[in-house]
C-alpha cells in the first residue's frame, strides 16, 4: 500500500466532493455508533467495563517484555514456532522464505492490520506468490488496490455497481447482479475454492495470551477459521503489543472489542490456537508459526506518554465517533490506520514529519477519548505530538516548524503576558482586521485567516472591548 499520509488535506478535499462517500457517511457511521452503544449497554456496568479494559491493557504494557517472554515460552512448549522481526522487511522476508520453502503458489489471508502496515501482500506477489485476502471487504479493497475505508468494513463505502463490475472482471461473475447478497455469495464460491486447496495461510492476531501460549482471532465470516483449518502451514502475525497476561483478561477484551466494533456480544467465531494440530487430528496446521513484529513499537514503548497508543485493540469505535472521520472517511488518512486510531499510531510509526496534518486535523472534541474502551487519551496525544513537532525532536522524526509561525507564537505569548503590549497589539490590529467591515461584520480580511472567511463572517473587532466597557462603564454600576 502506498503511503499517502502527507496528502491528508488534498485527499480529504477529494472525499468531501465524492457523492458516494458523502451518501455513505451520512448514514452508516451513525448506525454503527448506535449499535456500539446498544452493545455496551447490555453489560452490567459499561463504564467499569471500559475502565477494566484500560487497566488490563495498561498492565499488559507495563509488563510487556516479561509477558512476551512468557508467551514465547508457553507457545513454544505447545509446539508453535516463534519468530521475532525487528521491522516490516524482516517479517515479510521470513514469510516469503517460508512460502518458497513450502513451494506454495498462493496463500489465503485473514484480515491483519499489521501485514497491511508491512505491505506483506506486495512483497509476496513480487516473488511470485499469489495472495488472496479472504475477508469480503479486504478482498474487494485488495482487488481495487485501495486502502481500507474503515477497519471493520474496509470496502463498505464502495458502491454496489463498482463491486459488480469488479467481480465480472476478477472472479468471473456470470449474473451481473446489484444485490449485495448475491455478490457476496459469488465471492464466497470463488474464495471457497481457494480455501479448499490452500497450502499455507496467514492470519493476524487479535489477542495473544501469555499464561497459556495461545493466540486468539475474532471474526464474523469464517475466513480466518478456514485459513487455520485447511492448510498444513499456518503463519499468524502479531504486533508485539497484542499480548495480555491471562485467559481471563483475554475474555474481557473479547467482550469489549466485539461490542465496540459492531455492537455484538461476541463475534460469530472466536478461535483460540494453542499449538499446531495434534498428531491424530485430520485438519489444522502441521506447523504453526507466530511472527512477533516490532516495526517501531519498542521505540514508541520507550516514551512514557506515547506508549498509551499501544493499548489500542483495533475496535474502530473512535472512527465512527470522530466528527472529522465522519466527514472524510478512511481514505484521507493515507495508510492502513485511519481516524483517531491512525492519528495516534501513524505519527509514531512513520515519524511526525510525514504525518504533520494527521495529528493537527482534530478539533480536540474528545469523542474518541470518551468512547475508547481502553482509555486512550487521543487529544492529549495529538497535543503531545504537536509539541514534539515544534521542538523538532529527532527522536520523533520531526523537523522545525515554519519560521513565521514560530515568530508569531513568540510574539503572541510575550504580548499575552504583558498587558500593555496586548492592549497595544489589539489597537494596532483593529483597523487592519476591520478594514472591509460592513454593518459591524467582517467577511474578508488580509492575513492568514483566509480559511475562516471562505464560508463564514466574523464580528468586527469591537471598538470598545470588554476591557474598555468594564473600565468606562460596568465597573461602577456594581
Amino acid at each position: 500500500m502506498e503511503i499517502k499520509t502527507e496528502q491528508f488535506t488534498e485527499l480529504a478535499r477529494k472525499e468531501l466532493k465524492n457523492e458516494r462517500t458523502r451518501f455513505f457517511l451520512k448514514v452508516i457511521p451513525a448506525v454503527m455508533k448506535a449499535r456500539r452503544d446498544a452493545g455496551m449497554a447490555n453489560l452490567p456496568d459499561p463504564s467499569a467495563a471500559m475502565a477494566c479494559g484500560a487497566a488490563i491493557r495498561a498492565e499488559a504494557l507495563a509488563r510487556l517484555p516479561e509477558l512476551l517472554e512468557e508467551f514465547e515460552k508457553n507457545a513454544t512448549a505447545n509446539g508453535m514456532k516463534v519468530f521475532w522481526a525487528r521491522d516490516d522487511k524482516e517479517a515479510n522476508e521470513f514469510i516469503k522464505k517460508l512460502a518458497k520453502e513450502k513451494g506454495v503458489r498462493y496463500v489465503t489471508k485473514g484480515k491483519s492490520m499489521v501485514t497491511e502496515e508491512t505491505a506483506l501482500n506486495e512483497l509476496l506477489e513480487e516473488h511470485g506468490i499469489e495472495v488472496w485476502e479472504t475477508d469480503l471487504g479486504e478482498f474487494i479493497a485488495q482487488q481495487l488496490h485501495r486502502p481500507p475505508f474503515h477497519i471493520v468494513g474496509p470496502a463498505i463505502n464502495v458502491p454496489v455497481e463498482e463491486v459488480r463490475d469488479l467481480f465480472i472482471q476478477k472472479i468471473g461473475l456470470k449474473e451481473p447482479t446489484l444485490d449485495p447478497i448475491q455478490l457476496g455469495y459469488a465471492a464466497r464460491l470463488f474464495l471457497r475454492d481457494k480455501f479448499h486447496h490452500v497450502q499455507m495461510g496467514v492470519t493476524g492476531v487479535n489477542v495473544a495470551v501469555a499464561e497459556t501460549g495461545t493466540i486468539i482471532n475474532v471474526e464474523n465470516e469464517g475466513n480466518i477459521r478456514f485459513t487455520k483449518a485447511s492448510p498444513p502451514v499456518q503463519v499468524s502475525v502479531m504486533s508485539l503489543e497484542k499480548v495480555v497476561a491471562s485467559m481471563e483478561d483475554a475474555l474481557h477484551m473479547i467482550r469489549l472489542v466485539c461490542r465496540n466494533c459492531t455492537g455484538q456480544r461476541i463475534s460469530v467465531y472466536v478461535s483460540m490456537d494453542s499449538g499446531p494440530k495434534k498428531k491424530d487430528e485430520i485438519d489444522g496446521p502441521e506447523e504453526l508459526y507466530i511472527v512477533i513484529v516490532d516495526n517501531g513499537r519498542s521505540k514508541i514503548y520507550q516514551d512514557a506518554k506515547a506508549r498509551d497508543a499501544l493499548r489500542c485493540i483495533r475496535c474502530g469505535a473512535c472512527l465512527v465517533s470522530c466528527p472529522v472521520w465522519r466527514q472524510v472517511g478512511g481514505y484521507a488518512y493515507g495508510w492502513a490506520y485511519s481516524g483517531p486510531m491512525g492519528q495516534v499510531l501513524n505519527p509514531m510509526i512513520l515519524g511526525l514529519e510525514r504525518t504533520q496534518e494527521l495529528y493537527r486535523a482534530s478539533t480536540l472534541c474528545g469523542s474518541c477519548k470518551s468512547i475508547c474502551p481502553v482509555g486512550i487519551d487521543h487529544p492529549s496525544l495529538f497535543l503531545y505530538y504537536r509539541a514534539k513537532d515544534v521542538l523538532g525532536d529527532p527522536n520523533f522524526k520531526s523537523v522545525n516548524r515554519p519560521w513565521m509561525e514560530r515568530k508569531f507564537f513568540k510574539m503572541f505569548s510575550w504580548a499575552a503576558a504583558t498587558p500593555w503590549a496586548w492592549n497595544m497589539g489589539v489597537r494596532m490590529a483593529r483597523p487592519i482586521m476591520n478594514k472591509d467591515a460592513q454593518n459591524g461584520v467582517v467577511s474578508k480580511a488580509k492575513g492568514p485567516f483566509q480559511g475562516w472567511f471562505r464560508s463564514r463572517n466574523i464580528p468586527a473587532m469591537a471598538g470598545d472591548t470588554f476591557h474598555d466597557r468594564w473600565k468606562n462603564n460596568l465597573k461602577d454600576k456594581g
Binding site: 480529504a12 468531501l16 466528527p323 466527514q327 493537527r360 486535523a361 482534530s362 478539533t363 480536540l364 472534541c365 474528545g366 469523542s367 477519548k369 470518551s370 497535543l383 505530538y385 504537536r386 509539541a387 514534539k388 515544534v390 509561525e405 514560530r406 507564537f409 513568540k410 503572541f412 505569548s413 510575550w414 504580548a415 499575552a416 503576558a417 504583558t418 498587558p419 496586548w422 489589539v426 459591524g440 461584520v441 492568514p448 483566509q450 480559511g451 475562516w452 471562505r454 464560508s455 463564514r456 463572517n457 466574523i458 464580528p459 468586527a460 473587532m461 469591537a462 471598538g463 470598545d464 472591548t465 470588554f466 476591557h467 474598555d468 466597557r469 468594564w470 460596568l474 465597573k475 456594581g478
Partner: protein, 248 residues
C-alpha cells in the same frame, strides 16, 4: 456578597464583549459581586493547541499571577476553563512551584452555567422568552467538564421558553481554534451539518455557551442564513433573547 472574579476570554473581549456584559449583568442579578482584573489577556490556548508549550507556559504564568488570589473565578468559555484546569498543571509539571500554584488554582475556576447552578444553586434568573429554543453541547463543556444539565436547567427555567432537542447536539461544530482556519473544507462541512440540525429543529433560536462555537456557527449563519438567530447562553438569559445581531 459573594465576590466573583471574571475570566473573560480573548474571543469575548475582542469579538463579542456583549457576552461579557451579560455575564456581569446576570451575576449582579443573582446577588454576586463580579470583579475584573484588567491585566488579564488570554489563557494561552492558541499556543498550546499549536504545540508551543514554552510560549503557553509564559501565558499561563501571567494568568496564574493575575488570578491566584481569587477564591472564585468564573468564565463564559468552557475550553478556556479546561485549559486552566487541565493543561496548566500539565505544562508546568517540570516547575514544582508553578505546578503547585496551578493545581491550587484549578478547583476554583468554573464555567459560568456550572457556577450558577451547582454553586449558587440558581436556575431561575428571572428571564422570559416566548419561543422554541434549542441547545448545542460544546465539546469542552460536555466532555471536558461534564456539564450538560446545568445550561438546560437554566434554559428550562426561562418563562415561556420551550427547550426542544437538537439532532446530533453533541457533535463538534468544527471550530477547534486553528482547525477552522487550517482545515477549512472539513470545518465548513462540519458547521454546515450543525446548522442543518438547527434549521430542521424547528427552533427559533440556537443557544450555546462557548464563544468559539458562537463565532463559528454564528459566522456561518451570518454569511449563509442571515435571518437565523444564535446567542450565547449568558446573552440569552440577560436580555430575554432580545440581544442585537451577530456583529459589533
Amino acid at each position: 456578597m459573594k465576590e466573583v472574579s471574571l475570566f473573560i476570554p480573548c474571543t469575548v473581549d475582542l469579538f463579542a464583549p456583549r457576552i461579557g456584559e451579560a455575564v456581569v449583568n446576570l451575576l449582579r442579578r443573582v446577588g454576586a459581586n463580579p470583579i475584573y482584573h484588567e491585566e488579564q489577556t488570554c489563557c494561552g490556548q492558541p499556543a498550546m493547541n499549536a504545540g508551543y508549550r514554552e510560549e503557553a507556559k509564559k501565558v499561563a504564568k501571567h494568568f496564574i499571577t493575575v488570578f491566584e488570589k481569587d477564591p472564585v473565578i468564573v468564565s463564559p468559555a468552557g475550553s478556556c476553563v479546561c485549559m486552566v484546569k487541565d493543561h496548566y498543571p500539565e505544562i508546568l509539571e517540570d516547575e514544582p512551584d508553578w505546578f503547585r500554584r496551578a493545581k491550587d488554582l484549578a478547583p476554583r475556576v468554573y464555567e459560568f452555567s456550572q457556577y450558577l447552578v451547582d454553586v449558587l444553586k440558581v436556575e431561575d434568573v428571572g428571564a422570559s422568552f416566548e419561543g422554541k429554543v434549542t441547545y448545542h453541547e460544546s465539546c469542552h463543556i460536555l466532555r471536558g467538564l461534564g456539564v450538560s444539565e446545568q445550561p438546560k436547567k437554566l434554559i428550562r427555567a426561562v418563562k415561556g421558553a420551550q427547550l426542544i432537542p437538537l439532532d446530533n447536539a453533541d457533535s463538534c461544530c468544527g471550530f477547534g481554534g486553528e482547525f477552522a482556519n487550517d482545515f477549512p473544507d472539513i470545518s465548513e462541512s462540519m458547521v454546515k451539518d450543525k446548522v442543518e440540525s438547527f434549521l430542521t429543529s424547528g427552533a427559533d433560536l440556537l443557544v450555546l455557551n462557548e464563544p468559539g462555537c458562537f463565532l463559528n456557527i454564528g459566522g456561518y449563519l451570518n454569511r449563509n442564513h442571515p435571518g437565523k438567530r444564535i446567542m450565547h447562553l449568558a446573552s440569552f438569559l440577560a436580555t430575554n433573547g432580545r440581544e442585537a445581531e451577530y456583529g459589533n
